[in-house]
Symmetry: C2
């Protein structure tokens, strides 16, 4: 495989409601610099992959409304590589669209598919893992998912049950057969999963060659696959958007995990040892962030915090003084038009407000 | 006494730090519409007095820095009646300045002196009380303070001990001789005061004729009195500001209560039955405000408040959504550049932050 056959598809269409009110429909999590690194998750994701994949081979799939955000945040990405989804249809149509469009240009592609809004640490291990998996996938008929060894019974993640009997060694990395995919188990089940030693967290990062994924899409999601296959004449033309709009209006939303990965016999999960978090909850942000001596995560400067413990204090206003006294285990999220104060263990803002009132939130979403 | 001899001196120079962060040095409490009536305390105070005193006889004493605020909030007040203090010197110099300047114009004035930032309810009783006291004071050598019957052992107020043996009846209103003035007693003492039945809250509203107050100023605060008396030639001229600057730089700050009212034999306290609060603390704002069924004072719209009790939720941003869950007895005060969250019973923001950090607050004061 030459470098010119290596591709990356970055999925950047999510609306990231779990970080509300910091994330909004208009600026979801992937476009935010939640950790204060100076770069958004999308920018971090792109620059990570640019180290191993030619920039002209990086494809971003996003929603139509985020087109300008993507172009302004990652201007190095070619315009024809920014694919716009007219509706949200989960990951399978997203991947199928990018795959069939890419096939028209390069039928020898080997592809890594990645979310745009995850935290990766130990970047060198991450890159090495991707390279090893791509090298293997380039000439093997397999569909890799990267699996992360769980460190806690997290209920917000997806889990992959491995088949330890079916194991291959790839230049020092272990990959296993796959028994099941389970999204967001309850706390008891998550504990059973972690204790069993059989389960890995589903990172949502996939690696395969283009012919294998097309075959499996055509086998398990033939309707979706054929819709995008039939569009071949329109890709890279003025007709593309209109054609895609028709497909998205007709097709059902389904994830690649359920639609393909769980059904195919070609799934392998590669155990990855880099640091990973999907940072999908305020709790996970809290876990990943630097804490002061009282276990507070203070993302505000200036701030006067007294008799306060285990709390998140965040404002998006860099000139605003936060004065907080006597809170324990709360989060205070101050944005220009929403102030959220609730316990840190609220899993989402939707739990923080009464059901009756949710309709009032529409303009703040 | 004709209407043209009735004057009102409104003291509007306070910095109102107790309502921080809503009040600031740049816009203290008297210029704010804290209760959401649509008018500031100063505007309410002026329009109350305009019902019984000719508008051209209303004098406002304020700090130089608030000149524009006063002119914009109460444009009906004559420019020559807006007196500017170059330094803060408590109430005695403030009253002496206004008194000696006024004397040059009208040596027959009868005057009510009033703070600008108090809450008055039962306005008709208030106005009737003032009128009765002015009518009496016009031709009696007395200095009235209005005293409010205490309803709780408030530690933030001043108390006046009455001499029940010295009692006069003024058209149905009772006035008593004065034994002592006590500022802000501790909780035990306040309870003794209230239980004794001898004490009234000091409203800071005074009524007297101009000759009586000048006499008493000259007897008990001769240095201050003579400084302002000596300025007679400069009042209403271009020289006034320069002359006043010199006096204020030299003179000490002292309250009219300690400097005159407690020492003179001419003090009488008139018992008033209108509703009064100096609204000097968040607690007093809470007490005076409309509460929801869970005893919350919500000064924010829209707001989604859940499992929250006995709290104050306030934002100055009329477009901002406040989402609060699980707070009990807190106050959340959101302003453009400060967010304060602490227990409602904090008596002032200064208790809400550590002493070490107070210097950082300077730019937010």
């Amino acid at each position: 495989m030459t470098d010119s056959d290596k591709y990356c598809i970055i999925m950047a269409g999510g609306i990231g409601s779990r970080f509300w009110p910091l994330s909004r429909n208009a600026t979801p999590k992937q476009f935010l610099d939640i950790l204060g690194t100076g770069r958004s998750f999308l920018q971090e994701t792109c620059s990570r992959f640019e180290q191993i994949i030619p920039v002209e081979n990086i494809i971003i799939v996003t929603a139509e409304r985020y087109k300008d955000l993507v172009k302004s945040q990652v201007p190095q990405i070619m315009e024809e590589n920014i694919l716009l989804e007219p509706h949200r249809r989960n990951t399978a149509p997203c991947i199928a669209y990018a795959t069939y469009k890419l096939f028209k240009k390069n039928p020898n592609a080997t592809i890594v598919v990645s979310p745009s809004d995850h935290l990766i640490t130990n970047e060198n291990i991450f890159l090495e893992t991707i390279v090893r998996a791509m090298n293997y996938a380039a000439n093997h008929d397999v569909l890799f998912t990267l699996g992360i060894k769980p460190t806690r019974p997290e209920t917000a993640y997806g889990y992959i049950q491995t088949n330890k009997a079916e194991k291959i060694n790839i230049e020092g990395y272990e990959a296993f057969g796959v028994k099941t995919f389970t999204e967001k188990p309850d706390a008891d089940l998550a504990k059973v999963f972690v204790d069993s030693g059989e389960f890995l967290w589903n990172s949502g990062i996939f690696i395969w060659n283009i012919r294998t994924i097309m075959n499996e899409l055509e086998s398990y999601l033939p309707e979706i696959a054929n819709s995008f296959k039939d569009g071949t004449d329109f890709y890279y033309t003025d007709e593309e958007a209109r054609y895609i709009k028709g497909i998205y209006e007709a097709c059902n939303g389904i994830s690649i995990d359920y639609g393909v990965m769980e059904r195919t016999g070609k799934s392998l999960v590669m155990e990855a040892t880099f640091g990973w978090s999907d940072l999908g909850t305020w709790h996970s942000l809290y876990v990943q962030s630097h804490k002061d001596e009282k276990d507070n995560v203070i993302m505000a400067e200036p701030a006067l915090i007294d008799e306060t413990e285990s709390s998140i204090i965040l404002t998006t206003n860099k000139e605003k003084l936060m004065v907080v006294k006597e809170l324990d285990g709360y989060m205070v999220i101050d944005t220009p038009d929403v102030l959220l104060i609730c316990r840190r263990n609220e899993t989402s803002f939707k739990d923080a407000v009464t059901d009756l009132a949710v309709h009032e939130l529409n303009k703040y979403q």
